[in-house]
C-alpha cells in the first residue's frame, strides 16, 4: 500500500449474496455520504424476504450512513420485507446504539451463521 493510499479513507463497498430467501449485503470500509448512494442502489431491487446488512467489515458509520439505514427501514416496512443488521462492532456498534437502531431494526452479533 502506498503512502497515499494509507492516508486515504477506505472506500465503501457492498457485496450482495443471495442465501435462500435472504439477501446478505456485506458492507466494507466507511459508510458516509459517499457510500450511501451505492448501498441504496444495490439494495434497490429487494422486495421480499429478509435483507441482512453484515457490518463486520464496516469501520465507520456517520450520520449520513444512519440516514440511509433509516430510509431502508422505512422502505422495508412499506414494502413488507425484513431488514436486519449483524456483525457491527466498535465505533459502528456505538453509533447504532446511540440511535437505538435496535428498537427498529433487529441487530444480532457478528458470529458467522447468525442472523
Amino acid at each position: 500500500m502506498s503512502e497515499e493510499d494509507a492516508v486515504r479513507a477506505p472506500v465503501f463497498r457492498v457485496e450482495v449474496r443471495q442465501e435462500d430467501a435472504t439477501v446478505r449485503a456485506m458492507l466494507y470500509g466507511e459508510l458516509d455520504m459517499i457510500g450511501t448512494g451505492a448501498l441504496e442502489t444495490t439494495l434497490g431491487g429487494v422486495r421480499t424476504g429478509t435483507c441482512v446488512l453484515d457490518m463486520r467489515h464496516l469501520t465507520f458509520l456517520d450520520s449520513a450512513g444512519i440516514h440511509v439505514l433509516m430510509r431502508l427501514d422505512t422502505r422495508a416496512r412499506a414494502e413488507g420485507w425484513d431488514l436486519a443488521i449483524t456483525g457491527a462492532t466498535g465505533a459502528v456498534a456505538r453509533v447504532l446504539a446511540l440511535c437505538r437502531m435496535g428498537d427498529r431494526i433487529p441487530i444480532t452479533d457478528g458470529s458467522p451463521g447468525t442472523a
Binding site: V7, A9, T74, L98, C99, R100, D103
Partner: protein, 422 residues
C-alpha cells in the same frame, strides 16, 4: 504585436467580443471538433486540417489534424485573410498566387502550397475563425468541394453554438443556486442565537461553522432560559442540505423552546418534537430527520445539575477539573422524524466548579486530520486537557482553531457549545 490593418475585418471589435462570448480560446481538446478535422483531412485527402479561432494577435487552433503547433501569429496566418470573406477562401497554388507568394508559410520552410478555409460565422454574422484544409502540394478545389468545406464549417459552428447555449444554462443555474444558498445561509444564521446569554451561574462558549462546500447544511445550537434560574442547551443536526433542511431546523428549534415551557424532562420535549414533525404526516413521508442533544441546566449551590436527553446525537463530553479522563454522557434515542412514538430517556449529572461540558455535532468528531484519521473524542479530549482553567469562550475558540490546522478536512457543519459552572 500589431496586425496589418488590411487584415482587420470591418467588424473587428464586435468580432472579438463574439470570440470572447463563445469562450473557446485555450479550451481543452474536444472530440467533436477533432472528428470534423479528421473527416475533412480524409475527405479532401490533405495532410492537415484545422479549426482555428482568430484572436487579437494570434490564430489559435481549437482542433488540429496533422500539425503539432497550438497557435501561430495572426499576421502570417492565412486564416486572418480567410475571415475577411463570407465564402470559402481558396488558394490552389500558393507559391504562384499574388495573394500568398510572399507569405512566410509559403516562401519559408513550411512550404504551404494549398489552402482552403471556410469561415466559422456566428448567427449574427461575425467570423470567429475557420475550418481550413492545407497541403504542401498544389491542389484544385471544385465548387462541390467548396460547398462540402462550407457544410463542415457549419457543423463546427453548430457545435460552438451548442456549447455556448449549454454554458449559458449552466451559468443561469449557478446564479440561481448561489441565490438559494445565500438564502439558506441567512435562514441558518437566523436560527443561531445572535449572542450567548450572560448567565450568573454558568460560563458559556459556542461556535458554529458551516461546511466548506457551498451548500448549507443543518447544524444549529440554542441557549435559552428555563424557569427562574435554569437554562437549556441545545445542539442539533438536521439531515440534508439547503432551504428544506433549514426549514426543519426552524421547526425543531422552535418546538424545543415551546415544549420546554411546560416540562422539565428533556426526554418529554424530544417526544413532543417528534410528534410535531409527524403532525399530518405518516412514517416515510419525512425527507429529513434531526439528531438533537437537549440539556436542562439548573444551578444548585455553586454546581450545575444537568438533565439530558438525546435523539441519535453524539454524547456530551465532560472533563472533570484536574482529571485526565474524558467522560461521556451517554444519552440514547432515535433521531427525531424517523418513526412515531419513539422512546427517549433522560440522564442526570452534576458539573462542579471547573468541570467542562462540551456538546457538539458529528462534524467535529468526524473531521479528518492530515494523516486521514478522525479527530474523534480523543481530539476533543486533547484540547480540553490543554485548556484546563480557561474560560468557556477560550475553550470554544481552541476547539475551533483545531479545525483550521493545516491538513484538517472538515466535511460537515460543526456546532459546539461549551459550559462550565462559574
Amino acid at each position: 504585436m500589431s496586425v496589418d490593418p488590411a487584415l482587420l475585418p470591418s467588424d473587428e471589435d464586435e468580432r472579438l467580443e463574439a470570440v470572447q462570448r463563445y469562450n473557446v480560446l485555450d479550451s481543452p481538446p474536444d472530440g467533436a471538433f477533432d472528428r470534423v478535422t479528421a473527416l475533412a483531412a480524409r475527405h479532401f485527402d490533405v495532410p492537415i486540417a484545422i479549426v482555428t479561432i482568430v484572436d487579437t494577435d494570434r490564430i489559435w487552433f481549437k482542433s488540429r489534424y496533422g500539425l503539432e503547433v497550438d497557435e501561430i501569429g495572426r499576421d502570417p496566418g492565412l486564416c486572418a485573410s480567410a475571415i475577411l470573406h463570407d465564402d470559402p477562401w481558396i488558394v490552389e497554388q500558393a507559391d504562384r498566387d499574388p495573394r500568398t507568394l510572399a507569405n512566410p508559410l509559403v516562401a519559408g520552410e513550411f512550404g504551404l502550397r494549398f489552402y482552403a478555409g471556410a469561415p466559422l460565422t456566428t448567427h449574427d454574422g461575425h467570423n470567429l475563425g475557420t475550418l481550413c484544409v492545407i497541403d504542401r502540394e498544389p491542389r484544385e478545389m471544385s465548387d462541390e468541394d467548396s460547398d462540402t468545406l462550407r457544410d463542415l464549417a457549419a457543423i463546427v459552428m453548430d457545435e460552438l453554438e451548442l456549447r455556448l447555449a449549454a454554458r449559458t444554462v449552466v451559468d443561469r443555474e449557478q446564479t440561481l443556486r448561489t441565490f438559494a444558498e445565500r438564502t439558506a445561509r441567512a435562514l441558518q444564521a437566523s436560527l443561531l442565537p445572535p449572542e450567548l446569554p450572560a448567565l450568573a451561574a454558568a460560563d458559556l462558549g459556542a461556535f458554529y461553522e458551516p461546511a466548506r462546500d457551498a451548500e448549507v447544511a443543518g447544524d444549529f445550537y440554542d441557549v435559552f432560559p428555563v424557569g427562574a434560574e435554569g437554562f437549556a442547551l441545545v445542539v442539533g443536526d438536521v439531515s440534508g442540505k439547503g432551504p428544506p433542511a433549514a426549514a426543519v431546523t426552524a421547526l425543531v428549534r422552535h418546538t424545543i423552546r415551546t415544549a420546554s415551557m411546560t416540562t422539565d424532562d428533556p426526554a418529554a420535549v424530544l417526544r413532543t418534537v417528534n410528534d410535531a414533525m409527524f403532525l399530518g404526516q405518516t412514517e416515510g413521508d419525512l425527507a429529513h430527520y434531526c439528531t438533537v442533544h437537549l440539556t436542562f441546566v439548573t444551578p444548585l449551590a455553586g454546581a450545575l445539575v444537568l438533565r439530558s436527553a438525546a435523539a441519535g446525537h453524539p454524547p456530551g463530553l465532560v472533563l472533570r477539573a484536574g482529571s485526565e479522563t474524558l467522560q461521556e454522557l451517554p444519552a440514547f434515542g432515535p433521531p427525531v422524524g424517523w418513526y412515531k412514538d419513539p422512546s427517549f430517556a433522560s440522564t442526570e449529572v452534576t458539573l462542579d466548579a471547573g468541570d467542562v461540558l462540551v456538546l457538539h455535532t458529528d462534524g467535529l468528531t468526524e473531521a479528518r486530520q492530515a494523516d486521514g484519521s478522525l479527530l474523534g473524542e480523543a481530539g476533543i479530549g486533547d484540547v480540553l486537557r490543554r485548556c484546563q482553567g480557561k474560560s468557556s469562550p477560550a475553550i470554544a475558540e481552541a476547539v475551533q482553531a483545531m479545525l483550521h490546522e493545516p491538513g484538517v478536512d472538515v466535511r460537515d457543519d460543526t456546532a459546539v457549545l461549551v459550559v462550565q459552572a462559574r
